[in-house]
Subunit: 531 residues, 2 copies
């Protein structure tokens, strides 16, 4: 079942509500047939959407038979509306939330009834001051209830406090009108109990919907999302995909269509929903595959939290793709196989853990991280051997000042040229910059990419600055125009940005080990099967 179905899941931006309702209503009036088809499609895409309302309708129908009761149940029958109202108020989609609300309602009602009866007794005993006592009691109880529910640890019981206040006022007021405080309290309690029992019975015995199962499915789904996102990020980086214009939704962290972005965002955003489902799931008795009393849902949340920590690393990787400063495609190709390997292996690890969580099985023998760690080491090793790609020694202070530029330049060139495998990867990489608008406001110069030294077709600005920096170094640096200085700066930044991507990818791999630890802890606590 899709966890997003929960009415309280809060995925909808409340700010759109007025507009949406307006457009929905106008759409409804405009073409009822289209709307009916749309509603039918909405319902049939997940049968829960038909089952839940039908269950509620059934519970209401069962209780409405009460109103036809004759003597000797006339008294119950005349208050039967309370049982129906209880169902409307308490009946929630999942069993956990129904139980929690039912508990709140029960406790609130019982305590309020007790207090109301005490107040009634006192008011009757005082005689002339009856009205004063009643009004004073209503103010005091209203004040205290609303004060206490602000207390942080009391917040989950907000509903209970509300019920308490409603019941208290109702009993005191109707008792005063009819003079039958005790009768009112008893009748109301019995009918609320009947309503609660019917609601619970229908909810549990007819096609039960468990919050725990939703939570489980949500977490498993997040693993797939993050796996797709990390794989997609690495692929996009290697394919040198650039955002011509970054969607403003991404820049303000709003929902967007971008699949890479949605992958990690769903894992980050599901936190609120997980917390909510956890609050319900802990109320649910052992059932189905979840046979342990006090099932360790908190450990599931912890694994999901560790996944979120990984998702933030994916977010940082995506930041490299969004960034204005982009590494030259040629340099990325050098690390192609290593980067891709990490992407594939990480996604495998995530999917494997997600799959084990779904099947509630432990990991097999052998280290699940061995392949991905190996891939990370290979990348790091290659970085170690080729880190000259990241740096541009033209402007090195240690080189430029001590020996003349020609010497430094030629020694590098000699080394680079001699290595056949890397003949096209010398230090002359050129910056490629995205057209994104999320940039430092610099008027940069664009360069062409080229491989051979013979076919150098650079922009004049670039040639100039290169020549100058080879001839003289720092002393004349400040004489360059601002544009040239900035283009130089961003050129070398682009060379380092590949190393940033690589470091962040290695950091992502490091975070996987924490995830595996959390998962193994979960295996023990939740008694997952041996593989």
């Amino acid at each position: 079942m899709n966890a997003n179905l929960l009415p309280n899941s809060g995925n909808v931006d409340g700010s759109d509500s007025r507009r949406n309702m307006g457009s929905w209503i106008s759409g409804c009036c405009g073409n009822p047939k289209t709307q009916l088809i749309r509603l039918w499609e909405f319902g049939s895409s997940d049968r829960i959407r038909f089952i839940f309302p039908a269950k509620m309708g059934l519970a209401l129908t069962l209780l409405s038979f009460f109103i036809f009761l004759k003597e000797p149940f006339q008294d119950l029958s005349s208050h039967s509306v309370w049982a129906i109202l209880t169902v409307v108020v308490v009946f929630e989609m999942t069993i956990g939330s129904t139980l929690r609300k039912g508990f709140n309602r029960f406790l609130g009602t019982v305590l309020a009834a007790g207090l109301a009866l005490a107040v009634a007794q006192i008011s009757i005993l005082t005689g002339d001051y009856e009205e004063v006592i009643i009004i004073g009691a209503i103010f005091t109880v209203g004040f205290l209830t609303n004060f206490l529910k602000l207390y942080p640890t009391m917040r989950p019981y907000e509903y209970g406090f509300r019920v308490f206040l409603i019941t208290f006022c109702f009993i005191v007021v109707s008792g005063y009108k009819t003079g039958r405080f005790f009768q009112t309290a008893i009748n109301r309690s019995i009918l609320i109990c009947i309503g609660a029992i019917v609601a619970l019975a229908v909810n549990v015995f007819i096609y039960p919907i468990w919050a725990g199962e939703d939570l489980h499915a949500l977490i498993v789904n997040n693993f797939d999302n993050v796996a797709a996102s990390i794989e997609g990020c690495v692929d996009a980086y290697l394919a040198c995909i650039e955002y011509k214009r970054i969607p403003s939704d991404i820049l303000t962290y709003e929902p967007s269509d971008d699949p890479l972005y949605n992958g990690y965002r769903s894992a980050v955003e599901s936190m609120t929903q997980e917390k909510e489902l956890l609050g319900f799931a802990i109320w649910e008795p052992p059932h189905g595959r979840y046979k342990i009393v006090k099932y360790p849902w908190k450990s599931f949340i912890k694994v999901s939290g560790a996944l979120r920590h990984c998702a933030f690393a994916v977010m940082a990787l995506h930041g490299c793709i969004l960034s204005e400063i982009q590494a030259p495609p040629k340099s990325r190709l050098i690390f192609r196989s290593e980067l891709q390997n990490i992407g594939i292996e990480s996604a495998k690890v995530l999917r494997a853990i997600g799959d084990r969580i779904e099947k509630m099985k432990q990991l097999g023998v052998g280290d699940i991280l061995s392949s991905v760690n190996k891939a990370a080491e290979e990348l790091q090793d290659k970085i170690d051997r080729r880190s000259y790609i990241f740096v541009n020694s033209d402007k090195w202070e240690i080189g430029g000042r001590q020996q003349d530029g020609e010497d430094g330049g030629s020694s590098r060139r000699g080394r680079g040229g001699g290595n056949e495998g890397d003949s096209d990867f010398n230090n002359n990489h050129f910056a490629i910059k995205s057209q994104s608008e999320a940039v430092l406001d610099l008027r940069y110069v664009e360069f062409e990419i080229h491989s051979g030294e013979s076919s150098e077709s650079m922009s004049p600005g670039f040639v100039e600055s290169k020549e100058t920096s080879n001839e003289t170094t720092k002393p004349t640096y400040h004489m360059h125009t601002a544009i040239n200085a900035q283009s130089r700066i961003y050129e070398s930044a682009s060379e380092l940005s590949l190393s940033t991507f690589a470091s962040l990818l290695i950091e992502f791999v490091a975070r996987l080990s924490n995830l595996v630890d959390c998962f193994e802890e979960l295996c023990k606590i939740a008694q997952f099967q041996e593989p």
Copy 2:
């Protein structure tokens, strides 16, 4: 006023609720005096906590006078409990949420009353089938209401649907019992209107609490938090603060005591609360400083989203501090002033924008970003001049294979040694690794930090690997033990990690410009004052 006060703000982990309530109750019974003092302190820390309950108590008291009405209002008086219940249900802390709930309740009640009267008429007309019609209607209405409220655009009206169903059931059932459908519907509607009007009047005219103001304060507060976090991150990085053991709360993205972490986390986490407050604020009429009809709260949210995008960059920076792979302290010192400058200037920009949002003023003339951009350029320029710090050419393929190791080594040493300013920053940086547990499971070797080449006191493992790599290069690399290979790999990774931190900091600066754009848009739409 502290926005966290809102009862629905959902900041409390529902999973703790059972335990918390237990401990609170037991604490309450154990030492009532301590608990009372604690409650008093809780209330007096923010006077809203006393004012809100008092307002609610007042509204209840005003309505409870209804029950003492004599003829000719006997009929109203006997149903007066409905007015009181409406107050309990509709009265929310902020004006926006009260208005929204009141609207839901009004619409739900009116539509339900209309439908119930129609059903009643039909059931009376059919005579013998009255019961069948009533039961059928209850099931159908129960089904449809609960089905429609699952529809995504309908979710904000969940409460309205519930009220609709309650009212419908109530009128149909009580009407059947008393035979006075019409009278029931009219009486109930009048009393609900009275209750709603009293609730609204008390809420608006006595110490009004506006959701919009809370939203405003929340966003301004986030700017301060992120500013403190970015400054703290840079300082912590330069002070080489390491986590001996990373709090598991951070690894699973749970609340923690860490101030750096809390700074950006609060900005990320406030999203849910902002959305909720936005949903209320759009219902509020112009008031106080917010004089525009349909105040552009959405633009505030957009600025906050852009700030969140920056907060994610701070999160990535914090990730560098948490990472196992740490740059040598000595290298960090080289970039000290540039890094610190960016930290200070970025925080200044954030605080300036936060301050302007608070005072609802535009930015002054001149580019607010000029200092921070300049600082970023200086950093990039220095990176450009000193990028040799990030790389370790010992293992460069282009060097090692073509010429013997001695030659390559000495030429580097010659260059490094000749530059007095950098004499202690040659390529021999040693890896410092945190003891964090969020690491690749590598048995790494620890090295001491030292500056002069004369006092080299390395671990044997390191000396061995260094000598070997100087004598022979790649061909013998694979003969090293795994430990040596890995320690080498992490040594060079540590050198690049400084460049990662620097790139991420520059990326943070780039994201500030998007924030400024969003802020300027807000200035126009919300008609902020000229400076």
